[in-house]
Subunit: 223 residues, 2 copies
């Protein structure tokens, strides 16, 4: 359509924290701790997915979870109910976690008895994608109600992820969401990403996701 | 629950742009232009709501829309289809718009023939709340699938809004979403905010929202 005018606004430069992230990653590798960074929009189902993930893998790995939020500790409480070690990180208004904050979080969590550490990042499709947290792998959740076009609008988030979980597939009949089209858009941003449809609420697909995560943790430890 | 540990992470200070925003607001007031800043999570239904809003008010006000996105111009195209004046703003990775960027957007849009200018902010519940765009009023959309607890987790967003639209009420039967509880949480953050349940897709509640917006535009012009 010709009538749409596009204006580019100059990007501010974000401070790079790549070095700190690489150092943290090396230290975690030495200690045998796999760190998963889980990102999504607000309300896409990160905490519910984590509860299902913990239920699936708690007999295989010692799991510790850091719940990052601007405010409230509802998520850490929901995770603690599963029996997993959990702490709440308050970012004090910050829209993302960087490697330094993640290090603080891990120190607070205490990693002596943790094999699989999971960081639930702030609900946000923009800022968390810009900061390497030092994670072994990045995962993101896109939920059906958000729409299939999100990879077009938030390109960086989809390009930095190793795996994309498409959550809330139980409500597919009630939304105009084309799963095939969505996978095609994800592939445009990231041809290598694994895509797994799930429903964290009903448990559908959680076995596939748990298999993927188990494989990655074991590969990381034996690397 | 006693076992949840909370760690506070020091907040970085964001550059204040309040002065620029106040200047822009005064200029717009002189020109008789009402600027609405519309915010929400990704996929909460900003563009669909705007299409319904334009349909309801296009015979009363000359409307111009600025669609802000990291990338893509799908939203501006969808707005242009309504016949309203529309431009796409690319933020180049930025997670929000500030007053300076909004001014650039208004210059790009051309406001000579606009009475009601609408800024569709970047889909994000954190950063856009921190920057005054110079808008006459702030609106936000919370969609049912995101969950009723969002005011607990994103306090600033809910406190800066004059009106909260609760969208996608057509899918209430398929989600664990307590509307009463949600309104209670919104009131905790912002006792003065108007709360309007809508379904942008079916048009439910759009008349109430259009009435609110019409009232605000007319009050602004006569102030």
């Amino acid at each position: 359509m010709d009538k749409v005018k596009v204006i580019e606004i100059k990007q501010s430069v974000f401070a790079a924290n790549d070095k700190q992230a690489d150092e943290l990653r090396s230290e975690l590798k030495e200690k045998g701790i796999f760190l998963l960074n889980l990102m999504s929009s607000p309300g896409a189902g990160k905490t519910t997915t984590l509860r299902a993930t913990i239920a699936a893998l708690k007999d295989e790995f010692k799991i510790g979870v850091m719940e990052a939020d601007i405010d409230s500790d509802v998520d850490a409480k929901r995770i603690a109910e599963t029996g997993a070690k959990a702490i709440q990180l308050h970012t004090g208004g910050m829209c993302h976690l960087d490697a330094g904050m993640t290090r603080q979080g891990l120190e607070g969590l205490g990693t002596g008895d943790v094999e699989l550490a999971i960081l639930e990042n702030v609900g946000n499709l923009v800022c968390p994608a810009e900061f390497d947290t030092g994670a072994s792998k990045n995962a993101m959740i896109l939920s059906v109600p958000e729409g299939e076009d999100k990879p077009l609008k938030y390109p960086l988030m989809f390009s930095v992820c190793d795996v994309v979980l498409i959550n809330k597939i139980d409500v597919l009949p009630y939304f105009d969401f084309n799963l095939e089209k969505c996978v095609e858009y994800i592939r445009m941003r990231n041809p290598a990403a694994t895509v797994i449809p799930i429903c964290a609420k009903t448990g559908e697909g959680i076995d596939v996701w748990a298999d993927w995560l188990r494989g990655e943790v074991n590969a990381w430890r034996n690397k």
